[in-house]
Symmetry: C2
């Protein structure tokens, strides 16, 4: 049988979402439920795909199906398309599988032409209404279907109003509307070199095409990329009989939520406008009324709406977002869908629906978008204060939360002012590792350069500090900072919204995060009940570790030891170590660092209680620690008692063409085993100290980075074990530790069976693994990835979501090989992907033991892990 | 049964080389053949491995086996160890599976002590001989086994000679020798804090240990790495009864080759010394006699040696390199092995042995080391002239051949002087793409910086030009060049040996390569008969293409289009293209380049006849083409009619953190499809021109580099095909072309099944694939790879030999996946590995269609390909 491309509403149901789109499926479902839905039909998503296959044409057989469906609709409605006696008017709306802003939304009143408008006027006994509808239709059709700029029509309205000396559209009468219709048709003709189409069937087919076409417009593509929607899904088109909210004061239109989408409170919520058509509610020209007032205006309709809301909520087992129209007193439902809600509402609704018996705990967990939780964990702007604030520029929403304070331009000043209890926002061209302390002292960070994975963004997310990065409107010229052209000086007021990327040059009140509320606690408790993956945290210091524990982290999956090296009191010793000319000099410098590293680990062990702590040994290329400008070199040379020329030569000799692919990771430990020795002494020494002072036995997991060959790992492991075993033996304590490796080089994944012989655990470093598997560095990829998205070569940012096809293949291979050699091998992930819900689902399905993410992503990861296990339960859970 | 660790010579044979080492197996074989071999036994290579497993100790059971073998030897010889009446003396020599300079070689006269020396004197009635033997033994044992510096003993001899007022050792008498024995023993005691061991069994065990130990010394490790010998092979130890060449004028010792190892001529070749022990022949104190003189001194021994040589040659079916000793007129054979020979000798011997019916053609091919052929393809120094020349410095032997000429320091000067028919050698800190023309104009290239895969080295090998790179003795200070401390000015005489890395500050006569000789032609004809792999060439210009065709290349496997961009007449247009701000400006610049590119391709097509030509589209990051110094920028800005500041900004904006992982390869074509369009027009336009002018239909293969996702390839392929198909249609010609891709990114290999849907061929870019699979760049790896070799983490340079475990896994995966989707897919390799024999064997075994290498490696690749197919015949050959 040939594929069916068009379904009448009564032929469909809610399960047919993939075929009919969300809107179409729900209209069908509401029809099935006997709710008052104006009838119509849906052109399927497959028809959309067919349209693209047919070179952006609707083929004849689909056209024929549409016409047949139209005929049936004529029969059901008793009206007829293009018939002046009793014209059938329809709306045409897009409706993808998932809600998709950015696509063509709606064309109303389709079916009008010079003849049917006369009929409509007669039927409704309202000429103004009829011609107003017609001019709206011409305008929408021209704009949306024919891409004639909207402003041309608006200018015509304005000209007419000026001429008549009136201000509001409503002051225009029927004759004015007639005139506008004529003017609009001539605008159409001027632009399209043909008359406005009078054949309603042509109008319909063009409108359907326009919906299909809009599936591929740039805004839709961006939205899809941001929301993981594959372009192959396509959109459906809903053709629905018009009902009119603008037929006088007994008519109206509105939107309603079955619960308050902002707080989750269980009460009908929404707004409506009397005597208005759809777009008027959102257009903001007239202020809509609160839905509660409908009880006064039309009690029957209000009660019916309330009852329908409850019925739909019960039916869909979720809070509903509905559109309705009242035509001459009678309520019609135009749409229902699961309502978008704030994070706070999401968890309240989920908990309430469980209490009400509508959802199981598992279903409740599935109803919450993990990414949304972020908003609950960071300070936010006070909503009222925000309404009054003015966005002066934007950047990338690099790390969520809201920040307000005084501008500072250096990490030093940030620290100085923060020490005086001032709230500061650090504004930089870009940040570098030396800025870490200043970043930690700031409320927020703003950079002119750098993407979502720039140093500033990554570090800020790790700290849970608000960050807006890569704002091209922030400029530094001759030492003067301007934002959107305005000169900004130290101490000026600034606010940042890290969740939107907005920048304000004023102070805005913020409200603190509330992570202690009962519902949040309930949800988090459920995640532990249902997830199989452990969730660990990436934490480089006791503060982050403590934050993560508060959020439920079950261990440290990645403690980057190098971040500790940048602190002011140790960077000198680090630099001494690097420029050392002999092993002895290097050991001398390392000896200075050892007690500091040890105290770091003591702090982290304390924060983590008995939870496991994975410590990664020194990873970055050494030159990252060195000064680069002449002035800096001069200062350091003096401190190190060598000549600037000598120091310069050392800095130069450490230069690398491709630092990413250079002398770093375990390669450092191979060249300088004394570094690994020192780090081992610090790790084990701290464990011994804790054991002696607190009587607690911690189990450090030492992680060797950037391994590509088992012999590399073995070499470094030998250094570690010899050092550690001797210390433990001398201490007389029963301390255990593990040695494992990062899998972050393709070769390590390919040879993971060999590597597993020496590694007690694998932790996937998916940042580097992604870079090397794709062969591009995230620092450089920004230059061309935009083109890749535009040209639909990539639909996803592989640094945000694990590339399951390529990188994922290596991960799977390594998991299987690793387990085949060492069945109890621990498998984790500690790249940025460890906090991304879809990547977490992949990790769950691949059988990893844990994911590790920044402290503020821990609750998100817990929820995502629970969802993954609910969808695909692991046997051994 | 327990493993046997010691074999008497008569228990072994030539096939037991892995167990007994080369020397031991051949001594056993000669024993089996009934040749006069002093008897003895071999401690196996497995005993060596056991020694390392036992923490560098010889365990008791192996010791016991050695003692038992010794007892049997006593019986056979009728002498007895440590018995003053009739002492058994032995030599102890190492003997690995492959010949291994760098390891401990020989200890002679073991078995002597204060008592047996007296017996030996009595038995031989020659006290001086006995004590000379004893003092030699003490010296060798101390030096080699106990690591007491040799010079301490030499100084004692010198002191004695000075005291006695004599010049030669031979002038010392028996009493002097006795005195030396005492002095040597005291030197031993002073250094080792114990007496010289008198127990001959202790001496023996210590000597065996010393051989095992020497397997792991740095020189041996370096040699192994250079020659692909795994450390797990271990070495055997041969213990053999001493015979004495120094028992007067009827005794002697020598080395002989069954044919001339320098020319291959079929005549006994070698030299000997009367009244001498082994080391004297090579020590150079006395000048040895030519072997032909032995016929006069001892006709019987000479005839016997000649007969044995023929017998062994026939037996081993290869030219033999033998050691012999004549003791009181009687000939003894101490060693035989296949003789090392020059390339010229290798091919002559191989051809002669086939003519003589001793070898089949296949066996003859297998007898030649492919790497050796290189020497036949490049000019060499005249041997006599070379003997008088003085090496003043050395560098890396980066590209073989000999060069002599005048020093120039810039590419411009090289071109200018070469235009005047001067021979020049380009001396640079390092080279860059702009130097290409100057490099081509030079006889040789010397650089102060850069390894075997630096720009200079890679380009020179491609051109077949001699290159010595990375010589730390070449310095540029304040614009003055010094080599090994000597100031060198333009025009000074210099010679380079690119096969050894030697640098001379004088002119040395060179002789041209002879590739036309009959034997070379015969061998090359045989390769075509027996190989399955095609051999193509990497050629970027008609000259290289023509050279390669002369060497038998069967197509171009890689034509790098970017090298053409650096030429003086086009770099400006290239730079215009890069700094273009609009597509139109870029197209304008590309339009200038198109005819030049087209003429390049016309030239290459002409050189290649009807052979396939694979053209790789633009690959390197654009900033490589831009100037970087202020002065250069100023000049270019003027030419481009923009301000230096504008140009600087463009250069800066093109800066990349990791250029290797940046905006290059097909990523350029995605961003700037107009570049791919221009290149397509040049490729196809050239084919049309050739077709119209010469009536010849070439089949260009367009290769898209750096693909990581099939959609990338598809995007660029669409641009190529649209452009090409239109041109071909317009031309009315029946021109065919292919579009394929490099597999050089791990993800491409992982997803090769998807990519094969769009790619008509795969060419493995093993340089980049190796870099990305290992996660290190070859430009940076130099800094740490030395440590990797020292610590035995790597035994091979993965940029020289394909890493079969890791990178090879990806290659195999891609071959299998590619074929599963497209059974007739062409599979090639175009990285540097394409010219490496062991990698070629891997390519053959993996089922590749072709390898591609620089023109001068083509004969090597042909031979290696033939050898691979002889060892492992491909069914479809």
């Amino acid at each position: 049988m040939a594929k069916k491309f068009v379904y009448a509403f009564k032929e469909g149901n809610a399960k047919m979402r993939n075929l009919l789109g969300g809107k179409g499926a729900n209209l069908a479902e509401m029809t099935r439920l006997g709710l008052p839905v104006p009838q119509g039909f849906t052109v399927t998503t497959e028809a959309c795909n067919q349209y693209y296959k047919d070179d952006r044409q609707i083929n004849d057989s689909i056209k024929a199906e549409i016409m047949k469906a139209l005929e049936k609709l004529e029969k059901v409605s008793g009206k007829s398309f293009g018939n002046p006696e009793n014209p059938l008017l329809v709306s045409v709306r897009s409706g993808a599988r998932a809600s998709m802003p950015g696509m063509m939304d709606t064309i109303l009143n389709l079916g009008l032409n010079d003849e049917t408008v006369v009929g409509l006027a007669k039927l409704t006994e309202n000429e103004r209404f009829a011609y107003d509808s017609y001019r709206r239709f011409i305008q929408m059709f021209s704009d949306v279907v024919m891409e004639i700029p909207k402003h041309k029509f608006e200018e015509a309205i304005d000209a007419l109003k000026t001429k008549k000396g009136v201000k509001l559209d409503i002051e225009l009468d029927a004759n004015d509307m007639k005139k506008l219709v004529e003017t609009f048709k001539s605008i159409y003709k001027k632009n399209k070199k043909e008359d406005f189409p009078q054949d309603n069937r042509v109008q319909l087919i063009e409108a359907v095409k326009a919906v299909f076409r809009s599936w591929d417009n740039p805004r839709a593509n961006v939205y899809r990329r941001m929301n993981d929607i594959p372009s192959i899904w396509g959109t459906a088109v809903n053709v629905q009989m018009m009902v009119f909210g603008n037929m006088g004061v007994t008519s109206g239109t509105g939107v309603a939520f079955s619960r308050n989408p902002s707080t989750g409170e269980n009460v009908l919520y929404g707004e409506y406008l009397l005597n208005a058509q759809g777009e008027d509610v959102v257009a903001g020209i007239r202020t809509p009324e609160d839905i509660s007032k409908l009880a006064e205006d039309n009690k029957e309709a209000f009660d019916k709406l309330n009852a329908i809301a409850k019925k739909l909520e019960k039916h869909y087992r979720d809070m509903q977002d509905m559109e309705f129209t009242i035509e001459r007193g009678k309520l019609y439902m135009l749409q229902t869908r699961n309502g978008k809600r704030t994070a706070q509402a999401a968890i309240k609704v989920a908990c309430d629906l469980v209490k009400e018996g509508l959802l199981s705990e598992q279903q409740a967990l599935l109803s919450i978008d993990p990414k949304q939780l972020d908003a609950l964990l960071h300070p936010q702007f006070d909503k009222d204060a925000l309404k009054k604030a003015k966005v002066v520029a934007t950047g990338l929403a690099a790390s969520p939360g809201a920040a307000t304070g005084k501008v500072v331009f250096t990490a030093e000043r940030a620290k100085e002012l923060a020490a005086k209890k001032e709230k500061v926002v650090l504004v930089r061209l870009e940040t570098s590792p030396e800025d870490i302390e200043g970043m930690a002292a700031s409320q927020g960070i703003l950079t002119a350069r750098g993407g979502m994975t720039s140093h500033a963004a990554v570090v800020a997310r790790g700290m849970g500090t608000c960050c807006v990065s890569g704002s091209s409107e922030v400029k530094f010229t001759n030492g003067v900072c301007t934002i959107a052209g305005k000169t900004v000086k130290e101490g000026d007021a600034i606010s940042l919204d890290g969740s939107t990327g907005n920048i304000y040059l004023e102070n805005i009140k913020t409200v603190d995060a509330d992570t202690e509320s009962g519902d949040f606690g309930t949800i988090m408790a459920w995640t532990n009940k249902y997830k199989a993956l452990s969730v660990r945290t990436n934490a480089d210091n006791p503060r982050d570790a403590a934050t993560a524990v508060k959020f439920g982290a079950e261990g440290v999956g990645l403690c980057r030891t190098e971040h500790m090296f940048f602190e002011a009191d140790r960077i000198l010793a680090v630099r001494e170590m690097i420029v050392a000319k002999t092993v002895e000099d290097r050991k001398k410098a390392l000896k200075k660092l050892e007690p500091m590293q040890k105290s770091d680990f003591v702090g982290i062990y304390k924060a983590m209680g008995e939870l496991p702590v994975t410590i990664r040994f020194l990873d970055p290329p050494l030159h990252e620690f060195l000064p680069h400008t002449e002035a800096e070199i001069k200062v350091l040379a003096k401190e190190l008692k060598i000549t600037p020329a000598e120091l310069s030569a050392t800095v130069d000799s450490l230069h690398e063409f491709n630092p990413m692919l250079g002398h770093r990771g375990c390669r450092l430990a191979v060249t300088y085993p004394e570094i690994a020795e020192m780090q081992t002494r610090a790790v084990i020494g701290a464990a011994i100290e804790i054991a002696k002072k607190d009587g607690k036995l911690v189990k450090p997991e030492i992680m060797i980075p950037l391994v590509g060959d088992v012999k590399e790992l073995k070499y470094v492991k030998n250094v570690v074990c010899e050092t550690a075993d001797k210390m433990i033996k001398d201490s007389g304590l029963d301390i255990h530790y593990k040695v494992g490796t990062m899998i972050e080089i393709p070769r390590a994944a390919l040879l993971s069976d060999e590597i597993a012989k020496e590694a007690e655990f694998f932790s996937f470093g998916t940042n580097d693994l992604t870079q090397m598997t794709y062969g591009f560095s995230r620092d450089d990829a920004g230059k061309f990835l935009a083109d890749y998205y535009d040209k639909k070569i990539f639909e996803q940012d592989p640094f945000a979501k694990v590339d399951q096809n390529g990188v994922g293949k290596l991960i799977k291979m390594a998991c299987e090989n690793g387990r085949s050699v060492r069945p109890d091998i621990k498998l984790g992930i500690c790249g940025e992907h460890g906090g991304d819900p879809s990547s977490i689902e992949f990790c769950h399905n691949t059988g990893l033991t844990y994911v590790s993410c920044s402290p503020f992503r821990v609750p998100i990861a817990r929820l995502a892990a629970a969802q993954a296990n609910i969808k695909n339960p692991r046997k051994n859970k």
